[in-house]
């Protein structure tokens, strides 16, 4: 009911102020010999702004401090011996008083002071609420009257309104910067906190990953060597690239250079479906279908392949990345000027020779950029590896065996943990920082290369 009243108040203020501005502007225009600078709707909008912003500010202040005021008023109603009692009892009493004040009542008989307090709390609530609403309305109307009095033929209402819009737009684009700053600041802060427990040398060059979860007072936190995780990430990404690059690049070449329009219209969106499938589904696929199939294959050829291994995760990730490689490469290949192809074909080269010797070298920087972006995506992929890589953070070089990655360890160390005091959970931020730095480098290089390439042919 309260929020309905507030919403109704704001709507009424909005409608009234806009109309006031509109009609004032019209009557000024009618009575004046001067031509109005701005159209009536801009006057209406400015009046609405001057009315709503102050009213909203009042409501916002109440929203922020109102609960504290109500609480301190409640406490002042209670007898001092209750207030100085144990916090649990106090909370219980406050809850009962609040229940009485809402008319819901309490089980059994209430203490007389509770009833009295409930009664006055109820009155206080209603009083303050209506007072706030009234103040907001009055302030809004003062703003409205002020702006209304400013309406004159010379008033540049449109420019004022457009300036406000522009500031709002600029604030919105600042949020992207704020996000980056937030990421870097939070990762750095928590990572530095982590490095106060574990030395960076042990972290970056350690070869054993064995975080200990026991909160022993001995100060032994276990070992946090990054290398096994990094190696797992690199190994799985390499396998993924071995799958994605040939398939993605060849599909892109075929679709861009050979395929008829109809084939392209069907096959391109089909392949891009792969990019839209959430990675947790690839994880399921890898775990349920791909892993057992690979394991059976391994039995057949006499190589022991674990169902959850670097190979399983890598292949599933490769499938996921195919459309990423293919659509980026496709864009880049189609940007190579047709004249270069014509020249080569005119010299008698076959189509494949043209592609291999002319188109691809010309497109190479862009394609390399696409590969780098794909690798960065593989580094950051989480769900597939969580499900299908087997979670064995040990430094070993057999891709048929279980492994673990940076992202898996982030998830394992920090699932729904709010206590950021121990290195066990803080290490997630050090890992995140490493991951962020790696992908940032790849992205910056890739974006730079792709941009340079675009400029070359545009």
């Amino acid at each position: 009911m309260n929020s309905l009243v507030v919403a109704a108040l704001l709507l009424v203020l909005l409608a009234v102020s806009y109309q006031v501005g509109l009609s004032r502007s019209r009557s000024v225009a009618g009575n004046s010999t001067l031509k109005m600078h701005s159209r009536p709707n801009y006057h209406g909008l400015m009046v609405a702004l001057w009315c709503l912003v102050p009213a909203l500010t009042i409501l916002l202040i109440w929203f922020l401090v109102g609960d504290d005021i109500v609480r301190s008023y409640t406490l002042s109603l209670l007898p001092p011996e209750v207030v100085s009692g144990t916090p649990d009892q106090l909370r219980d009493v406050v809850r009962r008083v609040e229940q009485i004040s809402t008319g819901y009542g309490v089980v059994g008989d209430a203490q007389p002071y509770e009833n009295a307090a409930g009664q006055s709390l109820r009155e206080f609530r209603a009083l303050t609420f209506w007072a706030v609403v009234a103040v907001a309305a009055v302030i809004g109307i003062i703003g409205l009257m002020f702006m209304r009095s400013r309406i004159a033929p010379r008033l540049r209402a449109r420019n004022e309104f457009e300036a406000v819009v522009k500031v709002l737009l600029a604030i919105c684009s600042g949020i992207a910067i704020l996000t980056t700053v937030g990421i870097i600041a939070s990762l750095l802060r928590e990572a530095l906190h982590f490095f106060s427990f574990i030395s960076p040398v042990d972290f970056f060059f350690g070869t054993v990953w064995a975080p200990r979860f026991s909160t022993s007072a001995s100060g032994d936190y276990g070992q946090y060597g990054l290398l096994p995780l990094l190696w797992g990430t690199v190994m799985i990404s390499t396998i993924a690239m071995l799958v994605a690059i040939p398939l993605g690049l060849m599909s892109a070449i075929y679709l861009a250079e050979y395929a008829t329009r109809r084939v392209r219209a069907v096959a391109k969106p089909m392949i891009e479906i792969l990019a839209g499938i959430p990675s947790v589904i690839y994880g399921f696929f890898a775990l349920v279908t791909l892993g057992p199939a690979l394991s059976d294959l391994g039995d057949m050829i006499g190589v022991p392949i674990r169902a959850t291994s670097a190979l399983t995760a890598g292949i599933a990730m490769g499938i996921m990345i195919i459309p990423f490689v293919s659509s980026l490469s496709d864009d880049i290949i189609t940007q190579v000027p047709g004249a270069m192809r014509d020249g080569s074909l005119g010299m008698g080269a076959t189509k494949s020779e043209t592609i291999k010797r002319v188109v691809l070298p010309a497109a190479l920087p862009g394609i390399v950029g696409a590969f780098l972006l794909a690798i960065s995506k593989a580094f950051g992929e989480t769900m597939i590896v969580v499900l299908a890589a087997g979670n064995a953070p040990i430094l070993r070089f057999n891709p048929f065996d279980a492994t673990s990655t940076v992202t898996v360890s982030i998830v394992n160390q920090l699932t729904g943990d709010t206590n950021f005091a121990s290195p066990q959970s803080l290490v997630a931020f050090a890992l995140g920082l490493t991951l962020f730095a790696m992908t940032l480098c790849l992205n910056v290089i890739a974006l730079y290369v792709v941009r340079k390439y675009r400029e070359q042919y545009e």
């Binding site: 008319g103 398939l247 096959a267 499938i277 399921f284 494949s352 950051g380 499900l387 920090l414």
Partner: protein, 455 residues
């Protein structure tokens, strides 16, 4: 080269030169064919993956949309249900007192031995078989007793009556009847006892157990003690809240910043920095956004764990770059003549943008929004870091309640120990998630064609 050799009259057949050219041509043509075959086969492999992926998921998941129910006559036996009459509200009572009385009565009803009632009704269907109480109870899903209780709470007149009720069979019966467990395994490794398996088969043959649409999948939240009744509703609502938050925040903010950067911002170092920054943000791994959410929203602002609000905020930050980049591309694609015409007629820059340029880009913005939202709805990793993998059995009523999300629910079910039962169920959840995404895309296509017709 080939043209020349075709137009000139052929020299002597045995010319070594001609022989060499022929040889090289054959080789080059073979290389051409090979290259083409590589291309065709990679396209076919990629398309084949799509088909294979979808068919395995459909094959695994579709059966889970039907689950066995046991139709039995349930007698609300007064000798077992010994409870007071349902309390009536009196005018002189405070609501708190009435609620307390009602709760007392419901507690009394809950304490009735409903398992006994279920057991009796099943025994009555198979009077000739020797069954222990455990056998009987292993057939019926654990929470069905609460359904009987709810029936009774709803309508206390049922006391003494016999009604036909479709009881949901337990997950083990489901696995047994669908053959998801190897039927030839020895008795020690079967989840059901021998008499229970026989009875399930017998009931299935004579139709007292039939497969019914698994409506619990859509009407229940997750459940640990009654896996047969575990559903997706809680996760769906969590995802819905997050989707709404993403749409409400990411679209206006993203479109506004794209407009600012593309139309108003002066071209200087700062805007260059913002541009590079946005392109980078688009490629930052999603799990890093989860770390940001854990550190900032949860640790610093003390927002609750597992809340769709926090999830929605994290996904919004993740989706923003997608929306910004796509909107900028759409704005850039608007022909400059449109802007020049508007400016030439005396419109201000703001008027030009909002009245003339922006409406043309609605289809592009819409597509960007849908792509962004679809990406956000399938995202799992950042949600794990802000605690949305909690086991939640209550429906979230506000975005601040504990909840989980569809992809996280899929992840949780994938990790369930009862693999035989949860593998098809996970696939079914995946089908639901894909259906939601498909529906989003369909809406986008319909809306876009509508906008385009108008434009």
């Amino acid at each position: 080269m080939t043209d020349i050799s075709a137009s000139t009259p052929p020299p002597a057949a045995s010319s070594p030169n001609r022989e060499r050219i022929h040889h090289s041509l054959r080789r080059r043509r073979a290389a051409e064919t090979r290259f083409r075959i590589f291309g065709v086969s990679s396209v076919m492999i990629a398309v084949g993956f799509v088909i294979f992926l979808f068919s395995t998921i459909l094959y695994d998941g579709l059966p889970a949309f039907w689950q066995p129910v046991i139709s039995v006559d349930v007698t609300f036996d007064p000798s077992i249900i010994k409870v007071d009459p349902k309390p009536e509200g009196a005018s002189d009572q405070s609501p708190a007192d009435f609620q307390r009385k009602m709760l007392d009565w419901q507690r009394q009803v809950t304490l009735v031995n409903w398992n006994r009632i279920i057991e009796n009704s099943i025994r009555a269907e198979a009077p000739d078989t020797e069954l222990t109480a455990r056998d009987v109870q292993s057939l019926v899903s654990q929470n069905e007793r609460y359904r009987l209780r709810d029936l009774f709470v709803e309508n206390p007149d049922l006391l003494g009556q016999t009604v036909q009720v479709d009881l949901l069979a337990s997950a083990n019966v489901d696995v047994w009847l669908k053959g998801d467990i190897d039927r030839s395994l020895d008795a020690a490794r079967q989840q059901l006892s021998q008499p229970a398996r026989d009875l399930a088969d017998r009931f299935f043959d004579d139709g007292r157990i039939h497969l019914a649409f698994a409506s619990t999948l859509f009407s229940n939240t997750d459940s640990r003690n009654a896996p047969a009744e575990a559903g997706l509703l809680g996760a769906f609502i969590g995802s819905l809240y997050m989707m709404i938050i993403v749409i409400v925040l990411a679209v206006p903010i993203g479109v506004s910043s794209a407009i600012y950067l593309e139309e108003f911002a002066p071209k200087n170092r700062l805007t260059d920095l913002i541009e590079v920054n946005i392109n980078n943000l688009a490629a930052v791994p999603s799990i890093v956004f989860g770390l940001l959410g854990a550190a900032v929203f949860i640790n610093y602002f003390h927002l609750p764990l597992s809340a769709p609000l926090v999830g929605g905020l994290v996904l919004t930050l993740m989706t923003l770059p997608t929306v910004i980049i796509a909107t900028r591309a759409a704005l850039r694609a608007v022909s400059p003549s449109l802007r020049q015409a508007a400016l030439g007629l005396g419109a201000s820059r703001t008027q030009t943008v909002f009245h003339h340029v922006l409406p043309v880009t609605y289809p592009g913005i819409l597509t960007a929004t849908i792509i962004g939202v679809a990406q956000a709805i399938g995202e799992t990793a950042p949600l794990l870091l802000i605690g949305m993998n909690a086991f939640v059995t209550t429906l979230p009523t506000t975005p601040l309640d504990q909840a989980t999300a569809l992809p996280v629910q899929i992840f949780l079910w994938e990790g369930n120990e009862n693999r035989n039962y949860f593998e098809p169920k996970t696939a079914a959840a995946i089908i639901v998630l894909l259906a939601v995404m498909l529906a989003l895309n369909a809406i986008a296509i319909i809306l876009r064609s509508r906008f385009e017709r108008r434009a």
